[in-house]
């Protein structure tokens, strides 16, 4: 037969907790009370962090800021599927994931208030936030590759959005990962928009997950507003990666409830009715119902949690705002050893500052 079908592939969809908070008991991960509480606490903290950041930005106390409202399940569920020693590559909407990874909120606020000194609060294996789109994907593949060469029992997790899947770096990263079977998981927060561009104009593919198939590994689409599904799928992928099974691509199907950033006006490109529809699928709300059914959540529990988280946030903001950046740091970290031209330029600037003060 000269012409025959030689390839058939498929992509799974995973949802464990539906928008009404009903759980699929066959798929429900076995998580103890402390873990469930940790999930919820971080989702609430993330939402409050975000809300505070938006308020600070409106008051002129922060730079342009990308809200993570609506991403609570994908970020918290995925981070808690990682081990502390796994590498973590966030992009610019990853505030909740960073908090869950243990990066002090003070440093996250500091960064978005406009100083690289905030990154002194990072330590391996938590990498810096990627501002350009998709460039971090290749770095994560390289880290995973090195871990494989060094025979370390770790994986690398890299986050990006739906827009990133159009960039060349994404495709190169996916291909390298497939060819070299690196222990990396590609975590794509498909929030349906890249600034104004809707997902269907970003790619003609039916799903983003299927892009993995072209590179020779599995892709799965997960309800990104379901923290249990996010956790389960991500943990499975990380376990597979660490045990030599190679990469996985996970598409978290979610929605950006806020603007792209505080500089963006989403009413120019999407209907409010669409936003309202997605609000019904709120990731925090459905998990709260689940916890209530389990007898963990109550209004009193919520009130205490909000109080506790709000206090932490106020303290973090206070500390972040108290920080004064060091001017010399602008020159100090360009190379390990400062070359003469930078030394000269630094001296030039410092004497300019002194002269100006003297006037």
């Amino acid at each position: 037969m000269p012409r025959q079908k030689i390839l058939e592939m498929s992509v799974d969809w995973l949802q464990i907790l539906d928008p009404e908070g009903n759980v699929d008991e066959d798929l429900e991960p076995a998580l103890d009370k402390e873990t469930l509480e940790k999930f919820y606490r971080n989702m609430v903290l993330m939402r409050l962090f975000d809300d505070k950041a938006l308020k600070l930005q409106r008051q002129g106390r922060m730079l342009t800021y990308g809200s993570c409202l609506g991403h609570e399940a994908c970020q918290i569920g995925s981070v808690f599927a990682m081990r502390p020693e796994d590498w973590f590559f966030p992009y610019f909407r990853q505030h909740g994931a960073q908090i869950a990874r243990g990066i002090p909120m003070k440093f996250i606020y500091m960064y978005w208030m406009g100083t690289e000194d905030a990154n002194m609060g990072l330590a391996p294996p938590n990498f810096t936030v990627a501002i350009p789109v998709s460039t971090q994907i290749l770095h994560a593949v390289g880290v995973a590759w090195a871990a494989k060469i060094k025979k370390q029992d770790i994986a690398a997790a890299v986050y990006f959005g739906d827009g990133a899947t159009s960039e060349g770096d994404f495709h190169e990263g996916m291909n390298f990962a497939g060819v070299f079977k690196t222990p990396v998981v590609f975590l794509c927060e498909n929030n349906q928009y890249a600034i104004s561009l809707p997902r269907e104009k970003q790619t003609a593919s039916k799903t983003l997950a299927q892009k993995a198939l072209a590179y020779g590994f599995d892709g799965i689409q997960v309800d990104g507003n379901d923290v249990l599904a996010v956790y389960s799928a991500t943990k499975e992928a990380l376990d597979k990666a660490r045990s030599g099974g190679g990469p996985t691509f996970i598409e978290y199907f979610t929605y950006r409830l806020g603007a792209h950033t505080t500089s963006d006006d989403p009413t120019k490109y999407r209907e409010n009715a669409e936003v309202e529809e997605w609000k019904k699928k709120d990731p925090v709300k459905r998990f709260r119902i689940y916890l209530e059914k389990k007898g963990i959540w109550s209004q009193g529990y919520e009130d205490n949690l909000i109080k506790e988280c709000s206090d932490l946030i106020e303290k973090a903001v206070e500390e972040a705002e108290a920080y004064t950046p060091v001017v010399e740091n602008m020159f100090r970290y360009v190379y390990e050893e400062m070359p003469p031209n930078l030394k000269e330029q630094m001296d030039e600037l410092m004497s300019f500052i002194a002269k100006k003060k003297g006037e």
Binding site: I195, S196, K268, P325, M330
Partner: protein
């Protein structure tokens, strides 16, 4: 005559040229429905439709690479790169392809392409959103580099860029997008590429700059009113109007170059080399540069220290004048 800011002037230039020339198409991230993140292409999708005002996938190399193909086919793409910090992804397509299509095909093909991108600091932006990157592009033979400093020039230079038969990188100083308005005529006029403009006449010192720093130089002049300064806005960095600069320095004998780009190998270095070649014997003082430092542009808490400002420029002017 109507007064426009730079965003409005560029929008007007695009609108008029698209009305006049059906081969002009706009492409880029968020340029259509959203009207561009700085609203430069606002209203153009409604007027010209989605085949001429194209919201592309998020891929800078893809935008420029496909724009090259369109240009080869006789369209005149005006491709937007949303921020200069993402223009690095276009360097391969520009340096290895767009800029040498005429050369390596010996004129069989050419590439009438315009890349527009906002550039520069002073707007309290994020990392990769505040850089002055023209130096990279000036170094590409076959590519022209244009940088307006006023709404009037922005329109006239953009029309020249679109009509130019060769690829042009047109940088828009985002600090000046809405900084001021001036009279911008409706209808056709062009500002020629490769022609600098004297903004003030002076005898004591030549001050050379471009883009957003022209405004800084104008502020600096307020602080040194006793010195007669000839301020030159280059407007086009490649090709460079050497004659206007060196003739001025022959007259004044002193020069200061101000640029936002990092100092080492910044265009100031080339300007000083040309002054040395053509006006060395007229110099009465070493030429001084006020520039960005050789470091990544810092985030806003330190950004003001990085950027040349009126103080730094006025100190340099005094130092060179009193040498």
């Amino acid at each position: 005559m109507v007064k426009l800011n730079m965003v409005q002037a560029i929008n007007l230039a695009l609108r008029e040229e698209m009305e006049k020339d059906p081969s002009v198409v706009i492409m880029g991230e968020d340029v259509g429905v959203d009207g561009g993140v700085f609203r430069v292409t606002e209203g153009l999708l409604d007027k010209f439709g989605s085949e001429r005002v194209i919201d592309t996938p998020l891929a800078e190399s893809g935008i420029v690479g496909t724009a090259i193909g369109m240009a080869i086919m006789g369209l005149k793409p005006v491709a937007e790169i949303q921020f200069e910090g993402f223009s690095y992804m276009t360097i391969d397509q520009l340096a290895a392809h767009a800029s040498r299509i005429r050369y390596r095909s010996r004129g069989v093909y050419h590439c009438p392409l315009v890349i527009r991108s906002p550039y520069g600091g002073g707007v309290r932006a994020l990392e990769h959103h505040s850089e002055a990157v023209a130096t990279f592009y000036i170094h590409i033979p076959g590519l022209k580099v244009v940088m307006p400093s006023s709404p009037y020039d922005a329109k006239g230079l953009l029309l020249s860029s679109i009509r130019d038969p060769d690829p042009v990188f047109y940088f828009e100083p985002k600090k000046l997008y809405r900084a001021f308005k001036e009279e911008v005529p409706e209808g056709d006029y062009t500002v020629p590429l490769g022609a600098a403009k004297k903004l003030t006449e002076g005898d004591d010192l030549t001050l050379i700059s471009w883009g957003s720093m022209v405004r800084v130089c104008q502020e600096a002049l307020e602080k040194v009113k006793d010195i007669s300064v000839e301020l030159i806005d280059l407007r086009t960095l490649s090709p460079f109007d050497e004659k206007t600069v060196t003739e001025s320095v022959r007259k004044t004998g002193r020069a200061v170059v101000v640029h936002e780009e990092p100092r080492t190998l910044g265009f100031g270095a080339e300007i000083i080399a040309r002054i040395n070649e053509k006006a060395f014997l007229y110099l009465e003082a070493p030429v001084k540069r006020v520039t960005g430092y050789d470091v990544p542009v810092p985030l806003p808490k330190l950004e003001d220290y990085y950027l040349p400002d009126a103080e730094k420029v006025s100190y340099a002017i005094k130092e060179v004048a009193e040498f």
